[in-house]
Structure formats: C-alpha cells, structure tokens
C-alpha cells in the first residue's frame, strides 16, 4: 500500500475490474448517470400523458413498444413507469450514483490515503451495483412488465400479480435487484467508514476533515444501519410471494377467490420500509450538502461559516432521521399518540436544517464569489433546500398531513427538497471535481447555460404541484380527467409537462459538455479552483497510490481562505492556505 508501483495493467483490470478508487468512482458516475437519464426519460413520457391525457405522441410510440397503443400508454404501464422512475432516481442515481462517485473519489484523496481500506470490496461494491442496475432494466422487458406498485412497493399490491400485472416477474426481479443493490451499498458504506476512521494522514484530525468527508461518513453510517432493514422487508415479501407465508397478507379476496393468507399486516411492511425509507432521504441529501458546503466555501474564498455547527447539524439530522419514519404513515390508522410523537420528532429536523441554510447564506456574505457552474449549482441547492424544505412543515405535522397526504403537494415537496437538492449537489460536484475525475476541465459557458435552464424548468415542473396538491389532486393518477372536480387543473398540468420536456432538453446540454470534456476538454491544472484540500496536491494524471512519494501531512483545517495578518495582508501572500502548509509562529489555528 505504501509504495506506488507502475505495473502495466491490461485493459480488463484497468477499466473493468479495477480496484482503484478513482476508476471505481468513474464507474459509479457513468452507471449512475446512465440510469438517471433513463429515469428522466421515463418521467418525460408519463408527464406527456398527464399533460395531454389520451393524446397520441410519437415519442411514446417510439420508446414504449408494446406498452402503448397508437402512441397512448396503457394505465398499468403508466404505473410501471412511475414505479421505475422513482426506484431508479432514488436508489440508482441519487444513492449509488451520488455517494458511490464522490465518496469513492474524495475520501482517499481528501483524507490523504493511498486508496480505500479494501480495494477488492470496493470493486465488488461497484459490480453488485452494476448487476442490480442490469437486473432492474431487464425487469422492464419481462412478461407483465416492470414492478408497478410505486417505488414504495406496499403489499398486497406488490405481492399479488392478480392485483396488477407488474407484480409478477417484474416485481420478483425488482426485489432481487434491490437485494443485490443493498449488498453493494453495504460493502461501499463499510469501506467508507473504515477508511475515514483508520486511514487519515498525519495531522488529519477529525476536526480538520473537510465537510464532504463528514457528510460521507454520516451517510455511510446511516446506510449501514438502515439498509439491512429494507433487505429484511424485501426478503419477507419474497417469502409471502413465493413460499405462501403471511407476514404482510391477511383477509384478501381478489380475482374471485379468497386467499389462504391470514394473520399478516401490510402495515408491518410500511414500518420496515420507512425505517429505511426516511433515513434514505438523508442518504441522498447529506452528500449533496457536504459537496456544496465545500464548494461554496472554496468559491466564496471564505471559511465555511460555523464548521462545528455544520457537523453538529448533520449529526442531528442523521440521528433524527431514524425516529421520524412514522410521518409517512399518519393516515394508516396508527395510534394517534404515536402520530403525535412522530410529528414532534419530524418538526425538530427543521432546526438543524435552518442552521445549515443560515450558515450557507452567512458564508456567502462578504465573500468574494467566483462563479463557476459548480458555484451556481451550489447556490441553486440552497434555494431548492429552502423551497422544498419549508413545505415539510405542512407534511410533517400530522394534523395537516391528513388532507395533503399522497397528493401532488407531497410530490412537489420531495422532488424539490430531495430530488433537486441532491442532483444539484451531484452536478456541482461533477463540475468542481471534473479535473480530478478526468484530468480535464468542463466548459463553463455550457455549464452556466445548463444551470439556468435546469433551475428554471425544475421550478416550472415542481412548484405548481403544490397548488395541485392543495386542490386535492392525488398522486399516481393516470389521468385527472375522470373527476369533474379537477377539470380546472388541465392548464396547470400542461404547464408542468411543458417544463418537463424543457428540463429533459436542458440535460442534453450537460450530456454533451460531459462527454466532450471527458475526451477533448482542455487539460486541467493541478489546482484550478485554488482549493486548500489534499486532492489538489495530487498529480493531475491518475496514479495508483495517489501521491508520488510520501503522503503529505496536514497542519490546519481545510477552510483557511482569505486569512489576513494584522495589516490586512493575506497570510502567505494568497487568499488560500493549503492544509499542508505548517502553522506560522503566531498564527491562530481557530481551535483546529
């Protein structure tokens, strides 16, 4: 481990079965983005149906094969698309794609380690992820179609093929794919935790870690504690489906006959599912918050405001995320007292969240902000985190949830606070660390255009959904046209769907920029953004072991930006001081 040796690798071991964290990071990124793009196209397809129900579209005809007739998708296939869109976006893009890419890339580079604790497990983690992605995609093509019970796959709908065709082979593949996905996630998370605790370079105390690393650490811990619960929930569902057990099923009459299942409860599944499902929100969100904290500080040329408070609030959010799952179940008939407890714990999350927002804003205050596309997306994240976060106060309050539960209000809320924030964090990370990923730079002008078109169309899509929700429009409806009550929602739905198409086109700008820059972009310098952290001390080209010679030692925290002496002149002559610069004689280390 401690020496780097350049042995010639053949293609297979360099690009495919690589144990190098930087290559694995790229594998996660590209697989994640590919899945994400598929998920995005799915959403555009069903938005066409929702915007113009019953109208025929060539895009639908072209892409959906037997799932449509004359360019109009079938109702059960609409649900299959909704289910797969949710599953792919939450797990494949925003869990594996986001965490897998940046934890792998940045943990060794920023803590000063030659690689992950176990390169082999790391490789396995990617390949399990790849396998589960392939299985999930295959499930689109099996008889009966893909899983159609919503990404939350509540039984009995997910357990009974009589209830919906997608609960046949499609659901079986979904469950196996997710089981493999969970193995991948656990292997990754364990590796991240062990690496962060054991392999930091000399001088890299915990309070000198960049916030990215703190975020990845909390994310990994939450994942290790919650994903196994989803695995058990999935296994019990497999038993109910295949071996006739009754964990979740009872008293069911369907397809003209009474089923043998007795004594189970679907509510048990909901508890198990959301015990993962809610922490999952923060598994998706925390890496994005870590990434943007780092970027905002670097690009504003200022220390992140309230470093310890940022860590504390992430810890609080992480802890609270385990005791709020019941707010997804206020209307399941749970004991009202339990509902009251979950209301209390849920609304508490607003406090650390507010602290984070104010700390972001204060970091920008009196900064000297350099506007790269990464900066734009980071500021965008603060906006989406606020916009989507505040509506949580409506949904998290059981007394108010009653009437907005499962309406478009929820769809608007979580897409903005979790979906947009996480994908903005991911985009910011890609623009910022592209030089570390590919040794080249992305084009800023295209990046800026990508940001402005994306944020405009994203708010065009998700903001009006709050109004739909307050009008009582339920989510997961194939069309709203069966209710005269919703007739006056037609133009809002068209509005939303129009922006959904624009949002898709906007992502093509990114795709072009990404592919072009990876192959043809200008060569990156070692430290283009003048960052202080260790990854900017590594050579531009990827080498095994990350540093030629010794791993540098660390002498200060990562946020010594614009530090001045008593005459108001920059210390060491520039507006940033690398973590590898030893403390000066009379320099104040700020307690780090």
């Amino acid at each position: 481990m401690s020496t780097h040796h350049h042995h010639h690798e053949d293609f297979l071991f360099k690009y495919i079965f690589s144990t190098d964290h930087k290559m694995i990071s790229k594998q996660f990124l590209i697989t994640g983005f590919t899945m994400g793009f598929i998920g995005l196209v799915m959403s555009t397809l069903f938005r066409l149906q929702l915007g113009w129900p019953g109208e025929s579209f060539e895009m639908v005809e072209l892409l959906m094969g037997s799932w449509q007739e004359n360019g109009i998708m079938a109702p059960d296939k609409y649900l299959a698309l909704v289910t797969m869109h949710g599953t792919i976006m939450v797990f494949f893009l925003l869990t594996a794609g986001l965490s897998g890419t940046f934890s792998n890339l940045l943990i060794p580079l920023q803590i000063g380690a030659r690689d992950m604790a176990s390169g082999f497990l790391n490789m396995l983690s990617y390949w399990f992820f790849f396998l589960s992605s392939v299985l999930m995609l295959i499930s689109l093509f099996v008889e009966g179609g893909a899983a159609s019970a919503g990404w939350t796959i509540y039984p009995p709908l997910s357990a009974l093929p009589q209830a919906i065709p997608g609960s046949g082979a499609g659901m079986t593949l979904w469950l196996f794919s997710m089981a493999i996905f969970i193995v991948s996630s656990l292997l990754g998370s364990l590796n991240y935790i062990v690496t962060i605790f054991n392999m930091r370079t000399k001088g890299m105390s915990m309070t000198r870690l960049p916030l990215t690393i703190w975020a990845f650490l909390f994310t990994a811990i939450i994942g290790v504690l919650s994903f196994p619960v989803l695995l058990s929930a999935a296994l019990l569902l497999v038993m109910d489906r295949m071996f006739g057990t009754s964990f979740y099923l009872s008293d069911i009459y369907i397809g003209g006959q009474v089923l043998d299942h007795a004594g189970g409860s679907p509510i048990l599944f909901e508890h198990l599912f959301w015990f993962l499902g809610h922490p999952e929100v923060y598994i998706v969100l925390l890496p994005a918050l870590g990434i943007t904290s780092e970027i905002i500080s670097t690009m504003a040329r200022k220390p992140i405001f309230g470093y310890r408070a940022m860590i504390g609030s992430m810890m609080a959010i992480g802890f609270l995320s385990f005791i709020v799952w019941g707010h997804h179940m206020f209307v399941t008939g749970m004991n009202p007292f339990l509902g009251a407890v979950f209301t209390f714990t849920t609304l508490l999350i607003a406090i650390p969240s507010a602290v984070k927002v104010f700390n972001y804003i204060t970091t920008l205050w009196k900064g000297n902000i350099v506007y790269s596309p990464a900066t734009l997306f980071s500021v965008g994240l603060v906006s989406t985190f606020i916009t989507g976060g505040v509506t949580g106060l409506v949904l998290g309050n059981s007394a108010l949830d009653i009437n907005v539960h499962d309406t478009y209000f929820v769809v608007g809320h979580f897409h903005i606070v979790m979906g947009l924030s996480a994908i903005f964090g991911m985009f910011a990370g890609v623009y910022h660390w592209f030089p570390k990923l590919f040794g080249r730079m992305m084009n800023n002008k295209l990046g800026n255009l990508h940001f402005w078109t994306t944020i405009a169309s994203a708010y065009g899509v998700f903001f009006p959904m709050h109004f739909l929700g307050l009008a009582g429009v339920p989510r997961r409806y194939y069309t709203n046209s069966e209710f005269p009550l919703f007739d006056n929602m037609v133009d809002i739905n068209e509005f939303v769907s129009t922006f959904a198409v624009i949002a898709l086109v906007a992502q093509l700008i990114f795709m072009f920029n990404f592919i072009y820059s990876a192959f043809r972009g200008p060569r990156a310098p070692q430290n283009p953004w003048k960052g202080t952290t260790l990854e900017w001390t590594t050579p531009v080209e990827h080498i095994h072991g990350n540093w030629y010679g010794e791993i540098p030692a660390v002498y200060r925290w990562p946020y010594d930006y614009s530090k001045v002496d008593e005459n108001g002149e920059f210390l060491y002559g520039d507006d940033y001081i690398m973590q590898t610069t030893p403390m000066g004689e009379n320099e104040n280390d700020g307690g780090h």
Binding site: V258, F305, G333, V355, I369, Y371, L393, I402, Y459, Y478
Partner: protein
C-alpha cells in the same frame, strides 16, 4: 422523418464541437485559460442571480394570483375550520421564510461576486449568530407543534358512543367503494372476506343479528348535516385510501385491519354549490393509495343534506336481509 431528426442531431453535435474548439483556440491565442472564470463573466452570472430573485418571486406571487382560487374551497366539516386555520398559518410562516431567505441568499450571491479589488472577510463562526438561528426556528416550531398536536388529538378522538351519530362503514376494493350504514340497532354486523358471495360483495355475515338491518349502498352515499359521522374503513384486497378532500379527511383502508375517522359535515351539497358557484358540484370520496391500473378512477359521490332528507333517503334503501 426519423432520418431527418438523426441528421439534425448529428449536425448540432458537430457544430457544438467545432464551436467549443474555436472558443478554446481563441482563448489560447490570447494567452488565457478558457476554464478560468473572468471577473466580467462572474459579474454577469451574479447579475443573473438578481434576475433570478425577481423572476422567482414574481413567479411565486403570480401562481398565487392565477391558481390560488383553484385550491379546495372552504372546509365542509367542523374540524376543517381549525384545519384550514393551521394550514394558512403554516403557509403564511413558510412563505415569509421562503421569501426572506431567498432575498438574503440571492442578494448576497449578487453583491459579493468576485472582484480583484476586494478581499473576502475571514469569518469562521459566531456563537451569537448561531444561537439566534437555532432559537428563532425553535420558537416558531413550538407554536406549530402545539397547535398541530392540539388539533390532531381532537380530530382523532372517536365519537363517544352516547353522542347521536351516524355509523358508516366504507369498504374499498379494486376499483369501487361500498358504503354500509349500521341501521336501527346502531351496530354494524360482522363481516369477513370468506363470506363474499354473489351480491354480498363485502362479506357481511348474514347470521349476525346486528347485520340484518345494515344498509348497503353503492354509487353515492348520503350524510346528514351537523351530525357526527363515525367512519369505519375496510379493504378486501389492496390498501386503498378513503380521501374526502372537502371534509379534510383521509384514512387508509387496510386488508385485515379496521381503521376509523370521524367528522361532522357542516355544509349541505346545496350550500356548497352556492359557495363554489358551481351548480354541478358534488362532494367526492376518492382512492388516494395506489391500488392498481384503474386507481385513477375509483370514486363515490357524497351527498350532504338536511337530517329530514337524509332519513327519508335512508328509509328508501333496502336493508341487508331484504
């Protein structure tokens, strides 16, 4: 057609590549790095932040102006009044927070764009500030939590048996609703899925004394105004959710489990038609938990009328044994 599109896309890509190359060569000829953010470009992006602030806020208020009257009309149930009060209070608080924080965020993002003449202010923490923005949200939350829990406990309390009320069971199944009134004995007879047969679509136990006078209706059900209604919810197949948005009422129907909710309807259908200015207005019960292909069309009408009209209507309905 497809060929034309493919060619057009290829042309766009080729043009894009050439344009990027030209831009790179131009930067190189001037001795610049194309990826470096120039002060002028940064200032432009910063000014877009102000444009964004104005546009976003204008968009927000425009939506309220254009769509604000399409949200649900005033509540038609007793608990709906405090519900709407708390909802509006919460929406008021979060809208102010939303607008204020965006003004700060985007104004700072505009104002502090990079300038070679300035230095950023090294300001790493301030216990006082951090204390303020821990305490202020906590206070606001305390208000919302207290209001919320108070309402929640009231809403979820079942109607006491001695209070005059209507006992009504709603059963969900793919993709229809069935309502069952308790009848004169004020008790619902037993039911089980194993008893489902022919016309007995929800499996009511005909041997149970309490079942004999139960009344089963489809298509629409009626409620008397100003009388508490105690709902019991069942499902015989998938999880459904009985959502009655005008009454601010929702509860899941779970196979194997009985759930409940209650409310007091306060406005008759006729009154609501006047309030909404829509002579075709009807209260509805809709399914709000994904339950299969026709989930989007699982509905039942609700008629709220005077107690006399209600009793007249109920008397016309056949009881279970008939």
């Amino acid at each position: 057609m497809t060929v034309v599109i493919v060619i057009a896309v290829l042309l766009v890509i080729v043009t894009g590549v050439q344009l990027l190359k030209i831009a790179e060569l131009r930067a190189k000829s001037k001795g610049e790095n194309i990826w470096e953010v120039k002060e002028k470009d940064g200032k432009f992006q910063a000014s877009l932040m102000i444009v964004f602030l104005i546009a976003y806020m204008a968009y927000f208020f425009w939506q309220i102006y254009a769509w604000g009257d399409r949200v649900l009309p005033e509540p038609a149930s007793e608990h709906g009044v405090p519900y709407d009060f708390l909802l509006n209070l919460t929406l008021g608080i979060i809208s102010s927070v939303f607008v204020l924080t965006h003004i700060f965020l985007l104004y700072f993002a505009y104002k502090y764009a990079y300038s070679a003449k300035r230095k950023a202010y090294h300001f790493a923490h301030s216990n006082k500030l951090e204390l303020i923005w821990t305490i202020v949200p906590s206070l606001a939350l305390t208000v919302l939590i207290l209001f919320g829990l108070n309402n929640w406990n009231k809403i979820m309390k079942p109607v006491p048996a001695e209070t005059e009320h209507v006992l009504l069971e709603l059963t969900g199944q793919q993709f229809t609703w069935t309502a069952r009134y308790a009848g004169e004995d004020k008790k619902l007879g037993r039911s089980h899925v194993t008893l489902i047969e022919g016309a007995n679509a929800t499996g009511v136990d005909a041997t149970d004394e309490f079942a004999k006078d139960d009344k089963i209706v489809k298509g629409e059900f009626h409620l008397p105004v100003n009388v508490p209604v105690q709902f019991v919810f069942r499902s015989i197949d998938i999880i459904h959710s009985a959502y009655m948005p005008h009454f601010r009422s929702q509860m899941n129907c779970v196979p194997g489990v009985k759930t409940q909710f209650n409310f007091v309807p306060t406005k008759t259908t006729a009154e609501m038609r006047e309030i909404t200015g829509n002579k075709d207005f009807n209260y509805i019960l809709l399914c709000n938990k994904i339950c299969g292909a026709a989930h989007y069309n699982m509905q039942m009408d609700i008629v709220v009328e005077s107690k006399e009209d209600y009793e007249k209507w109920l008397a016309e309905q056949k009881s279970f044994v008939e």
